[in-house]
Amino acid sequence: MVDMTNVSKNTMNTADIIYKYMRPEHLPHIWCPGCGNGIILRAIAQAMENAKIDRNKTVLVSGIGCSSRAAGYIDCNSLHTTHGRAIAFATGIKMAHPELEVIVITGDGDSSAIGGNHLIHAARRNIGLTVVVMNNNIYGMTGGQYSPTTPHLEYGTTAPYGNIDQPFDIAELAMGAGATFAARGAVYHSALLAKTIEKGIRHKGFSIIDVASLCPTYYGRKNKKGSAVDMMRYQKDNTVMVEKAKTMTEEELNGKIVIGVLRDKEAPEYSEEYAKLVEKVKGGNK
């Protein structure tokens, strides 16, 4: 069971979130019925409210794919970039204007396939970005091709006999590359998700939140996972809090989604280190 005692506080209602953080003229959004991305977007808006960040000093960057539409719905500085390059553009923004809060909304394919290199190098440098991955295990917008997070032997339009690849675990990948904050969330636990994203925003340095989304239209249909409700129920039955997971065996954890903050540590932030270097070099020339 997820502890809800400290996550239900500070919740704004949806109408307030829409009028404060979103662009209501662009709603309802284009995502399919039952798509988890809407829930993640709401959690991001809630996290922005709870973290008390100034929208005029916030930039939302997205790449290409279903997830990329998110940048258009939140009313702050938005940048919709080319496929896989959201983190690359965000790195540029943070280096030019370190005072800005930069949030990247990306998908599983966008961040780990096309933009895989940008992800690992941003994590390695510990640059102050918050990356929210809308992980639906498939390329939804282009018609259901298998992505690097499609589970082994599951189906996609480009894997009609089953996917023989082993999937990426994006949070583990980022931690392996040196991310100082890594977390996983699930759309079923939406209140906890908002809290986790808030922690990511408050973290100084690179933070990544890998969120298990739902794609009933492509991933669900191709793999006979049933309706959006069935997929939500699957998440309900198969998510385990990270604290609980520590007491479980590998066998018990097989097929489970471990949610919560997986790593939270401090390290020098890249744009600050760069500013220090600039000062040092200028001082040397006097």
Binding site: T14, P28, G34, N37, G38, A228, V229, R233, K236
Partner: protein, 64 residues
């Protein structure tokens, strides 16, 4: 403080997530749109609002 459950039928896409996870069974989907079940005893817990992917259902608070 007055609290009401508001449904924005125009934005509802009928996925049924709110109805499936309503602890009181106070919602149902009819012809791809969510409706309240009268007399089911909605306690305004707001779980539907937290999980609606389309922002079509929420608790409205008003001074009255």
């Amino acid at each position: 403080m007055k609290r009401d459950l508001i449904i924005n039928t125009e934005w509802c896409k009928g996925c049924g997530i709110c109805a499936a996870f309503c602890p009181k069974g106070a919602l149902k989907v009819v012809e791809e749109k969510v409706q309240k079940v009268e007399g089911a005893g909605c306690v305004l817990c707001g779980m539907c609002e937290q999980r609606c992917p389309d922002y079509a259902i929420y608790i409205k608070e008003s001074e009255e």
